[in-house]
Amino acid sequence: MSDTSRVDKAERLSRKRARIFAVLAVMFLGLQSVYLSNGALTEASRINHVKIGAWAVNALALLVLLATGGNLLRGRDVRDLLDDESTRAHRQRALVWGFWTMIVTAFGFYIIDLFEEVTPREVLHVVITFGVAVPMLVFSYLERRAYRDA
C-alpha cells in the first residue's frame, strides 16, 4: 500500500471510529433506562443478573475500544496512524473528563444519600456508566473537531 493511500485509509477509519464511538456511547446511555426504571439493580432475580451481566460486558467492551482505539485487525502501519500523537492526546483528555465525571457523580450520590437511600450497586452502576460513556463522547468530539478547517 502506498503511503498516501495509507494516510487516506487511516483518515477514513478515524472519522468512522469517531462516529461509531458517539453512537455506541449514546446507545449505552440510552440503554440505562432499562436498569434504572424497573428495579433491575435492586431486585435479585435470574433475569436481573443476566441484565447486569450484559451491562458489565457492554461497559468492558467499550472500555477496551476506548483504550485500544479499535481496528485491532488492521495492519500495523495503519494502526500506527490511527493511534498517533494527536489521537493519544485526545484519548488522554477524554480519560481526564471521565475521571472528573466519575468524581462529580460520586459526590452527587454522596449528597443524594443524605436524603434518599441508594444501594452501592446503583451508585457503582451510574458512576461506571458515566465513566465509560463520557470519555467516549469527548474522544469522538475531539477527533471530529480535529478535521475541521482542514
Partner: protein, 68 residues
C-alpha cells in the same frame, strides 16, 4: 509557562507545494495531526516538531515560535 505555540507550518508546507496528506505521509502521522498543529489546536511533541522540521528542510525555530 507558555501553553500555546505560534507556528508557520501551513505557510512553509504550502510554500513547498505539499498538501497536508503529503506532509502527514512523510512525517508518519495522520493528516488530522498536521491539521491540528497548523490550527494551533495541538502542540506537537519535541520529536514530532523535529520530524516536521526535517521533512520540510527547515529549522524548528522557523516552524514554531513561543508567543511574544
Amino acid at each position: 509557562m507558555h501553553e500555546r505555540l505560534n507556528n508557520r507550518l501551513r505557510e512553509v508546507r504550502t510554500g513547498q507545494g505539499l498538501t497536508q496528506a503529503d506532509l502527514a505521509e512523510q512525517a508518519g502521522v495522520s493528516r488530522k495531526t498536521i491539521n491540528t498543529v497548523e490550527n494551533g489546536v495541538f502542540v506537537p511533541s519535541t520529536i514530532l516538531a523535529l520530524t516536521l522540521a526535517r521533512v520540510l528542510g527547515a529549522r524548528v525555530e522557523d516552524l514554531f515560535q513561543l508567543p511574544e
